[in-house]
Symmetry: C2
Subunit: 541 residues, 2 copies
């Protein structure tokens, strides 16, 4: 036990998968979240801040007979042997709060929450074990008006932080439509919801992989199974050909919508219809395959109309499916009449998210502009937010079903998008640096920064070793300082100070033709009493 | 293992010692921290956000040969068997960052940090296991100008959030003075710093208990030991009578300062001096015993001057002690010349905080106004922030000493103080509630809230079950809504809406004389197109 502790130094690094955020990284995120909070506030949502730590049983996901909780969360046992864990999202704590304070909270309860969550997952490039979420949820509102409100608010939030209309689309689907498809395909029995649960799980996972596996791959998974390139065999759902065809009609719904629109265009053209109408139909059809095509209110309106018809056709023998389509129509109508038309919010059967979890409408916000990826290739930015209706989460605690719907913004992704578009904003200018020429006159230098600060300017005195003046200017450079203030013995005697314009200085250094800078001196000497005014002038304030 | 899981519901509560923050509790804290951040920013400090999780070895405090880390932190082992823990303050992570990024960060590095920290301690009334800290530190600045800057910034921060000058005092002491006292008393050997470490520990703990144990109790602890009321015996430092007298001179320094001032007043009076001078000296002396007496620049100046003299007398044979007094004098001078006089920042040998940790100046901000405690008794509000110089924290990682100084604001205490003074600010007004008279016209109601929001007003539509109109008004009441908007069938036909002034309504309900409300109707009916204008008028906006 007698170790030599004095020789062992701790490693100066955070745990694997964690990182630090410096300066503008912090203020830019804060500026963005402040704007989002303003929108949420205007919609009547109240902030809620739960603690980072919850009991594992309140978070859910874990079986009481498992000794050590699963991977996925950071968990430990407290002094009473209860398992505690860091929250992995903001929805589970909300469900706990909604159950705990059900007699005190307003009903419905609209709340927003912003903060870090933790996942005990394998870290990767850009994937961290602590990251921010920004959620808004309405608990206790059964009507789809609540879902529509969330979609409208999401639109407003995106536009407020700097994603203009046309650069994003909120895509809406409904979990009930998917259930309807399951019912029609014979893998959901409304009188016995637990039956075929295994098959449905396989179907959902298969549908979600359409982009990667293609139609043949998905069909294989719906049937006997699929052997991948490495020879591994994944057992399928074992559905019949007819069942598979039914599921695939849903998977192919976007193509059906496209085909319907193009056929309509052809028919109108054949019967000598208005060319403008033909064009609109054709554009709506042709840009549908990539659902991110430049949206316009009119073509998207046509898509919405056709999507509802195609979906209704597929689920027509399922009451739940038809209810889902009806809800989508209501949502689209409610939003349209508030000014949130299909140029912003679009019905899209392709949204298949969080499948096990949601019970009604689901939505996803996609940014539709292109950025360059790390290899310089253009690609769509993709999803930055998503959510939907989950009516059973609070029930875990109380036994009573409580309707709830909400959205979660991926804070880091949205911030990356704003940076990619040059729309991230935060005051990142460094402070004015007052240099120290004479250590004994520190009080004078501190008096200068006090004057500058009292005038609202960001300023600091150099607090390192003042011996090497070059180091002081290097420091000012590292701080992105706009101005260095200098008062040596001569200036002190005269009662003056020198202001060096470091931004201009850097520009001059980069630019050979000094001519153009002639009328704007990079350095001025002014009376000490004019320090603040001269600094203001140099900053253009 | 076959448990019946379906019957077991999780408890809807947070872990012991954790709590939730709702609505204004969140926004008021945020508003306060935003103001503090603005001050820190103006002083050139940059934000830093480290993750909540650190390795236990980076946090320090734990021995490598202990299998399960001590109480005090929440810790667990990761998949590599490394111990991780939630940070217990914001200083340990800063030391890790300063070591890790020492080649990239500007030197000196000024940073601020705000966020929750976690302590695995016994929770109690008002004591939680997660709470906010708000720190500002300068790393790499050896001069006491850095300490002075922190004190000035702390003053500015307090005034900016709403504690006016005169309602607080920043008290400053110096760890080196205390070391000087130890040296003079023969329990510190500068040539062998580890010698007498045990005795010094007992001395420090004894000094810190002067308020509770009184002079006799402290003397007992400095000597053979002390038996408390329950009969428990605490072993003392075993000092001689002479050593004890020396330590007690320091403990009694405030009384010596008072006595000096009163003696001076008496002498000046005797020799027929200016009455004004006599009075000032007497006031400075008389209000010193309670160090929270109403400060004035002049009397505090006298106290500072006398405190420095008394301290210099006590430590005169210790070079380190004299250096400490000199540093205090420099700090007071630097601050005074920037306008931060002794009405705000006061030298006070009574500050004995974080004793094992600090290496130079230490400071503490006290609020000097009285509040009523839970039993209705008046008491001083007390300390809301503290800090000091710690030159050895980064050394743990790098082996090289890095000077550092900083302050930590107790966010919850400061917020409680602002609330006690009615100075906490946040927009806590509830939203305008648009009621639902006819479920089928939901789109119309949502159109109304959209109009109100687009005009910048906080508004929401009632999303609960609309059947019982009374419930809708109760909801509006719970939401502290200023206005309820009503459009029934009649109004819809006429194209009008009714606005009900709920604030006025509540006042009328409390007040019997309706006369005075006559000219301000609690309810108006206006054309739908005038909704926004009418709401604005009712809100007085």
């Amino acid at each position: 036990m007698a170790q030599d502790k004095s020789t062992r130094r701790p490693r100066a690094e955070p745990p694997k998968g964690f990182r630090d955020y410096f300066g503008a990284e912090v203020t830019e995120r804060k500026a963005m979240l402040d704007k989002v909070a303003e929108v949420y506030h205007r919609y009547g949502f109240d902030p809620l801040e739960t603690s980072a730590v919850e009991t594992v049983e309140a978070l859910g996901k874990f079986l009481p007979d498992v000794d050590r909780p699963n991977e996925g969360v950071f968990a430990w046992q407290d002094e009473d042997q209860d398992w505690l864990a860091l929250r992995y999202d903001l929805t589970a704590p909300l469900a706990r709060v909604a159950a705990q304070f059900r007699n005190d909270l307003p009903a419905p309860y609209r709340r927003y929450a912003m903060g870090p969550v933790w996942r005990n997952e394998k870290p990767g490039p850009g994937r961290f074990r602590q990251f921010y979420q920004c959620d808004a949820d309405t608990v206790g509102a059964p009507s789809v008006a609540a879902d529509a409100e969330i979609c409208a608010m999401l639109s407003d939030a995106l536009e407020t932080v700097g994603i203009p209309r046309g650069d994003y689309i909120v895509r809406v689907n409904n979990r009930k439509v998917l259930n309807g498809v399951m019912e029609v395909a014979g893998v959901l029995d409304p009188t016995d919801p637990d039956r075929f649960a295994n098959e449905r799980g396989i179907v959902l996972r298969a549908i979600d992989k359409i982009d990667r596996l293609g139609e043949a791959g998905v069909r294989a998974l719906l049937g006997e199974g699929r052997k991948d390139d490495s020879g591994d065999f994944t057992k399928g759902a074992g559905l019949s050909r007819l069942q598979i065809d039914t599921i695939m009609r849903f998977v192919d719904a976007p193509y059906a919508i496209k085909s319907d629109l193009n056929q309509a265009a052809a028919l109108v053209a054949k019967t000598g219809g208005d060319t403008d109408v033909v064009n609109k139909l054709a554009v709506a059809g042709s840009t549908l395959a990539d659902l991110f095509g430049p949206p316009s209110p009119e073509t998207n309106q046509l898509r919405n109309f056709t999507a509802l018809k195609v979906l209704r056709d597929i689920v027509q023998s399922s009451p739940q499916g038809l209810e889902g389509v009806q809800e989508l129509e209501t949502i689209a109508d409610l939003l349209d009449r508030q000014g949130y038309g299909p140029d912003r919010i679009l019905i899209d059967p392709g949204v298949v998210r969080g499948l096990g979890y949601y019970t009604g409408p689901v939505f996803e916000a996609e940014l539709t502009f292109e950025i360059l990826d790390e290899k310089g290739r253009k690609r769509q930015f993709g999803s930055v937010a998503g959510g939907g209706r989950y009516d059973d989460l609070v029930k875990r605690f109380t036994g009573q079903s409580v309707p709830a719907t909400g959205v979660s913004i991926g804070v880091d992704r949205l911030l990356a998008a704003l940076r990619a578009k040059g729309r991230s904003s935060a005051d990142t200018q460094g402070p004015i640096v007052v240099t120290v020429m004479d250590r004994d006159r520190m009080a004078d230098y501190m008096g200068m920064v006090a004057d500058l600060r009292n005038a609202g300017l960001r300023a600091e005195v150099y607090l390192g070793n003042p011996k090497n003046f070059g180091n002081q200017l290097k420091y000012a450079d590292k701080r992105q300082s706009p101005i260095a203030v200098i008062q040596g013995g001569n200036e002190a005697e005269k009662g003056s100070v020198i202001l060096k314009d470091l931004i201009l200085g850097a520009q001059i250094a980069q630019n050979a033709t000094l001519e153009e800078w002639k009328d704007r001196p990079a350095q001025v000497e002014v009376p000490r009493s004019d320090l603040v005014a001269a600094a203001r002038k140099m900053l253009g304030k």
